[in-house]
């Protein structure tokens, strides 16, 4: 259903912008979201019988900006998915979309990418250690002013001279535990931020 007249155009413009931002949500669901909001706006705007421009403006103001509303749909979608599957891939995908809509989301995304990346490196080194027993692991190299630099090596290529394998075979259990723990911790922290964000918008301000 499309709305007619000037108030109708405002509704269409608002819903059009919202539709454009609801990425990652199934088409059919997006259609339902848009139609449900249209129905809400028309109900709100026509309490005195007729749909007026002022009524439409008030109804749209009540819903918040399309960015904010889309951001809420995305985060709720993410929370619902996370309750079913805690796959880092799914969570990152949703965070990418949220990060493009909100500054807070962008920072949560950056932190999550970092957390998952470091976790993945730990796990990768643990996986590769049995294949490259003499080169993979956590290595220490003498730095400039007597300090040592630590670096993870996956075991491809030769180890530069002077290097020392710090953990030896301990990297296997430690890598699995630290990597797995970091991935889980990143997921929990990201979801905590998503929930805080959602709650911060739940009640009307002021």
């Amino acid at each position: 259903m499309t709305s007619t007249g000037e108030p109708g155009q405002r509704i269409d413009a608002y819903l059009g912008r919202l539709r454009g931002m609801l990425r990652g949500i199934r088409d059919e669901e997006v259609r339902e979201i848009v139609e449900e909001l249209r129905s809400h706006i028309l109900d709100k705007a026509s309490t005195s019988g007729e749909v007026t421009a002022a009524g439409v403006d008030a109804a749209l103001a009540g819903l918040g900006s399309p960015e904010e509303l889309a951001s809420q749909y995305m985060t709720d979608n993410l929370l619902a998915r996370a309750e079913i599957s805690r796959s880092p891939v799914q969570i990152l995908k949703s965070l990418f979309r949220w990060g493009s809509l909100s500054l807070g989301g962008f920072f949560v995304l950056l932190a999550s990418v970092l957390g998952y990346f470091i976790g993945a490196v730990f796990i990768l080194v643990a996986v590769l250690k049995p294949f490259h027993p003499h080169t993979a692991g956590l290595w220490s190299f003498p730095g400039g002013s007597g300090e040592h630099e630590l670096s993870f090596r996956l075991g491809f290529g030769n180890v530069p001279a002077g290097g020392k394998d710090v953990l030896g075979w301990w990297i296997v259990p430690i890598g699995w535990m630290a990597g797995g723990g970091l991935v889980m911790l990143t997921t929990s922290i990201a979801l905590w931020f998503v929930r805080q964000y959602r709650r911060s918008l739940a009640l009307p301000r002021g």
Binding site: S39, L42, D43, L63, G64, L69, A202
Partner: protein, 124 residues
Amino acid sequence: MKGMEGRELEAGDKWEVQLRKGCLELAILGALWEGRRYGLEILRRLESDSDLIISEGTVYPLLSRLKALGLVRSEWVESDAGHPRKYYALTAAGKRRATEMAGIWGRFSTSMDKLLAPLAKEKR
């Protein structure tokens, strides 16, 4: 700078806000207990019966999350207003969840009332 009293009041407000936010899901499930309702009806019900005023932009994404979790289902119904409305109703899982949450709420508020009874007496 705010005085001590002002700061204490602010902390009380903050606590109340947190408390209200924590109850949102239960409030929505509760508003659907007696039968199907559409979004605006749910909002109005919460306003009139619980003075739990939710910002409008929040209730719809929240309903879609409850639906994704299988706690509510939805259907479109034609209305006299000339446009269809999306009605929500509790699923069996939603009813279970609501009962469970209401039970926890009941036990918690009873025990808090007991604990706070001396305060209530003093006030009188």
